[in-house]
Symmetry: C2
Subunit: 199 residues, 2 copies
């Protein structure tokens, strides 16, 4: 049987510390039809992060130049640092038939959803604010002041869950992962994206 | 964490012989949040079919009376027999928080989708017309004339796949079942149906 598929842009978002990165990495490990877009950022690399793999680490001047050239699907300044998703990254990968997954903060996600209304959007919720706080402190990558700022942002971000097509609570990681994977499996079968020809 | 869910009406359709019933039965076996609506029909019971379980077997006069009373979500005459889904059946079950799955022919499905635009609609395709023919003959429940009528209907039904939200090819039954189950898992996480409250 002949069949054609349209590739997707998938947005995975949620407040800082909710576990976006873990679910995103597992998706990319498990599903060869998915790929990632390397974002640019002006923040400093965290220990272990590699330029061109985790992010393209760029200067403020380089970032401004890319904004000026309209090179981003979305770009935003969050927690004092700038981030952006390059149009070229996403377009090249989708043209190869791969679906691109973005692990992206809510501000960036909002811009992607505006720019690409047919993207698949998933918002991850923490089971409680207390657990979110524990995770942010447990991650041990930011100072307490930064963590409290992220927690305070989380309340406003969670109020905007209605902007997303899907909501998944990340309490049990395996269950949350299965739900996200099921959403992607389902979206591949959307009649607007999947065109089998019965002969 | 507190959460609320809205129950769904799920339509599984496809041409006669595509395997709707098998997938439908497995869904009901596997997922306790799903239930069925017993349809009425004016056709004669097949061997083993039980009144009130497989269908409510009714007379033409009883059927006409229900149509007159506007008692159906959908009703249709297919292959010379009348079928209908009772509003009371669906409403009572959804009010209990259960999602109702309908295993329904394309004509009935069209009417349900019109009556309930927020239903979840899945169309099953055969891998080929030849395999559909083999299945209909293998099922051994209808005479060749009836089978050829169903095959001829299938072509027109398959052309209307665009009316459904999701398309699944039933070549490998396990794979098709997994895709249908993933669609239901995904739809449960829709932000319009799933309302978790982070505290």
């Amino acid at each position: 049987m002949r069949e054609e598929r349209k590739s997707m842009l998938i947005v995975i978002s949620g407040p800082s510390g909710v576990g976006k990165g873990t679910i995103y990495n597992r998706l990319l490990d498990q599903d060869p039809s998915l790929t990632f877009s390397v974002s640019v950022t002006t923040r400093a690399p965290r220990p272990g992060e590699i330029d061109g793999v985790d992010y393209f680490f760029i200067s403020d001047a380089e970032y401004e130049e890319l904004v000026r050239k309209d090179a981003f699907v979305e770009h935003a300044t969050v927690h004092g640092h700038s981030y952006g998703t390059l149009k070229t990254q996403v377009e090249e990968k989708m043209a190869k038939g791969l679906s691109v997954v973005l692990d992206i903060d809510p501000q960036g996600a909002k811009n992607v959803m505006k720019a690409c209304p047919d993207c698949v959007s998933i918002f991850l919720l923490p089971p409680s604010y207390e657990k979110l706080r524990q995770r942010l402190y447990g991650r041990n990558t930011d100072d307490p002041k930064e963590i409290e700022r992220r927690l305070s942002n989380a309340r406003g971000e969670i109020e905007q869950v209605g902007m997303y097509q899907y909501t998944v609570v990340n309490d049990d990681l395996d269950l949350a992962y299965e739900q996200v994977a099921a959403i992607i499996t389902a979206e591949k079968q959307r009649t607007t994206r999947y065109f089998p020809v019965v002969e």
